[in-house]
């Protein structure tokens, strides 16, 4: 092995939130890249963000516009984005129009013009937008190939990082010599899925460094393009070592059933039908964390944060004060065209902002409904990525899920996601002595012991309260229609209070 140092390739910031993570830290300096996609997919905006993030008066950016979109209109619209800083023009960013050369001359003249301007300005960044319109004139493939190769060679030797922007269809991806020359190939897609628009970005190729594979959703907002990595930007972070610390629910008897509480960094699923107290239990979990100095995030989809806090208040749990103190964030995520990645980004941002240790997702059904229809099909896979990413940084997640009550089955979730959860707590109704009571049971606790007891509970003004001891007087409790193991006194009236009436 040689001890001589390898070349170090600097990585330039993309200027696009989330994209640096996806491309593996930034765009390789002096690389020759192509941004491809259909019209309206965000190619120009992406290039502008890169330009504004990297151009300086000393090493400016040259932005060549060709035919295609009118440069005046482009500037008119692009300056609406917050990243567009007009003060950078013309010292740091120079727009140069090549349409006349393209219309009147050939590719050699275009190359000559670019060469001349680049030699004059010594730019750090060069963009040709849209380079595709330049080569739509009748040319042989060899002409185009030669042009691209000469351009790539020249710009690399000028120490410029280059982006060519072009409208391409998916079918053109194969056998196109242009893509062979490029060091990086960024493909932007925009598809309609039912009533929602879904934008996705793929790094098809990026020489010299590993990017995150797959399709990443992105959004175009007032701030420009924002990308959401499939790994939620957590690939580079070291996972926390396994913890043995137990987190209390604030329900002493439930903590005992969980052998002291939920293991930190676990993913907990609380499943039950409507009214069984899933949200109450989740609220107690988050409030208990705050009591122990563990900031928390509650992602709600079915009610507004004010209503959530108000309901907690009725249980004697103050969620207003910790919100004001920055120890709790209640996220209301309701738009119907969210991608999981966007939702995750919102949650992650909130987690990082307050250093959250506990996260409640209330509920998975609401979460699914908030997603764009196109993403609902991938909900399970997305949940997997989300849980993996968040628990990897030590956040303990409690998700609630509504299940249909059945007297023949005992389902844990309608999503078949129980394998994603370390711990499952099942709440359900049972019919006992002419009353509809509630029972709780810990179904699963990965990596730890837990009580096998079936316990009755009530929802009181103090939240979920576990009653008595395990229910030994009934069989088939989980069926919802238990059978008493004792003979009841026929003369005795059923207890009016919703406790267990022991018959002797």
């Amino acid at each position: 092995m040689s001890n001589q140092a390898k070349v170090i390739i600097n990585k330039l910031p993309t200027g696009v939130p989330g994209l640096d993570e996806i491309v593996g830290g930034g765009i390789p300096e002096f690389s020759f890249n192509i941004i491809a996609g259909a019209p309206g997919s965000g190619k120009t905006t992406l290039a502008h963000q890169f330009v504004f993030a990297n151009a300086t008066p000393k090493r400016p950016a040259l932005y060549f516009t060709v035919l295609g979109e009118s440069a005046i209109k482009m500037l008119r619209y692009q300056q609406q984005y917050t990243f567009f800083d007009p003060s950078k023009l013309p010292d740091s960013i120079r727009f140069i129009n090549l349409s006349q050369v393209v219309l009147e001359k050939d590719l050699s003249a275009v190359l000559e013009q670019i060469t001349r301007e680049v030699a004059k300005a010594n730019p750090a960044v060069v963009v040709v937008d849209s380079f595709r319109t330049m080569v739509r004139k009748p040319q042989s493939d060899m002409d185009l190939q030669s042009f691209i190769q000469r351009l790539a060679l020249f710009l690399a030797s000028c120490q410029a990082t280059t982006f060519l922007i072009g409208e391409y269809d998916e079918e053109e991806l194969r056998d196109n010599p242009v893509f062979t020359v490029a060091d990086g190939l960024f493909w932007l897609r925009q598809t309609v899925e039912r009533n929602s628009i879904v934008r996705k970005l793929q790094i098809i190729k990026l020489r010299g460094q590993s990017s995150v594979p797959g399709l990443h959703t992105f959004r175009i907002t007032d701030a420009g393009v924002q990308a959401f990595s499939r790994t939620f930007g957590l690939t580079a972070r070291k996972s926390n070592p396994p913890r043995v610390r137990r987190l209390s629910f604030g329900v002493p008897e439930l903590d005992k059933m969980l052998d002291g509480g939920v293991r930190e960094g676990d993913s907990v699923l609380v499943a039950g039908s409507s009214g069984t107290g899933k949200s109450v239990l989740a609220t107690q979990f988050i409030a208990e964390g705050i009591r122990h100095g563990e900031p928390g995030i509650v992602a709600v989809f079915e009610e507004r944060p004010e209503a959530y806090a108000e309901r907690a208040n009725s249980l004697g749990l103050d969620l207003e004060t910790p919100q004001k103190e920055g120890k709790l964030t209640i996220l209301y995520l309701r738009p119907l065209d969210l991608s999981v990645d966007e939702t995750m980004q919102s949650i992650l941002d909130a987690v990082q902002k307050i250093g959250a240790k506990r996260l409640v997702i209330d509920s998975l059904a609401g979460f699914e409904m908030a997603l764009s229809p196109g993403f609902r099909a991938d909900f399970r896979e997305s949940l997997y990525r989300m849980i993996f990413a968040l628990t990897g940084i030590g956040v303990t997640i409690l998700s609630t899920v509504e299940v249909d009550e059945s007297f023949t089955e005992f389902p844990f979730s309608t999503y078949s996601i129980s394998f994603l959860c370390d711990d499952i707590i099942r709440l359900r109704y049972v019919s006992i002595d002419g009353q509809l009571r509630k029972i709780a049971v810990v179904i699963k606790m990965r990596g730890g012991n837990h009580a096998k007891d079936i316990r009755e509970y009530e929802i009181t003004s103090k939240g979920v309260v576990i009653l008595g001891k395990r229910m030994t007087e009934y069989q088939a409790l989980i069926s919802g229609i238990p059978v008493s193991t004792n003979q009841p006194d026929p003369k005795e009236e059923p207890s009016p209070r919703p406790g267990i009436k022991r018959t002797t």
């Binding site: 516009t65 009118s70 440069a71 005046i72 209109k73 500037l75 008119r76 300056q79 007009p86 003060s87 023009l89 013309p90 120079r94 727009f95 140069i96 129009n97 090549l98 349409s99 006349q100």
Partner: protein, 147 residues
């Protein structure tokens, strides 16, 4: 609709600056042409000749309603002005009129740039064309020499 006063002021400022840079015997039309030409080159560089030509054509149309003699002026394909320097001033008053016609045309052009590109980018264009001038970002009429 007449040219906004602040645009006319800015146009006059550019004309005055350009006049002070030229010779005293230079016809006023030449000064306006030089200002126009600098704007043309500056905008053509970033947006192309066709884009400049279309904006200049619109500016000329608007200016013609205020200055009838401009009906004799034409915009060529590359955006240059044709016929503007062919006015023959017969009396001193004609010189003032020509000067005002130039100001109107330049003001209309600047106004369209403001409308399409906004103040910041228009001033950026002006800085490219007149690198020695410092244009005030607040109202752009108080041009002053850079220190």
């Amino acid at each position: 609709m007449n040219t906004p006063p602040e645009m006319r002021d800015l146009a006059r400022l550019l004309l005055a600056n350009e006049a002070s840079a030229g010779t005293t015997t230079e016809p006023v039309e030449s000064v306006a042409l030089r200002v126009y030409e600098k704007l043309r080159q500056s905008l053509t560089a970033i947006a192309g000749a066709a884009a400049f030509e279309s904006i200049a054509f619109r500016a000329l149309m608007q200016a013609q309603s205020e200055a009838p003699r401009l009906w004799a002026v034409q915009i060529t394909k590359d955006g240059t002005l044709q016929g503007f320097d062919e006015f023959e001033p017969q009396i001193d008053n004609d010189i003032d009129i020509a000067s005002e016609e130039g100001a109107i045309l330049i003001a209309r052009l600047l106004n369209l740039l403001y409308i399409f590109l906004g103040q910041a980018l228009t001033l950026s264009l002006l800085r490219t064309a007149w690198p020695d001038e410092a244009f005030d970002d607040r109202n752009s009429i108080h041009g002053r020499k850079r220190e």
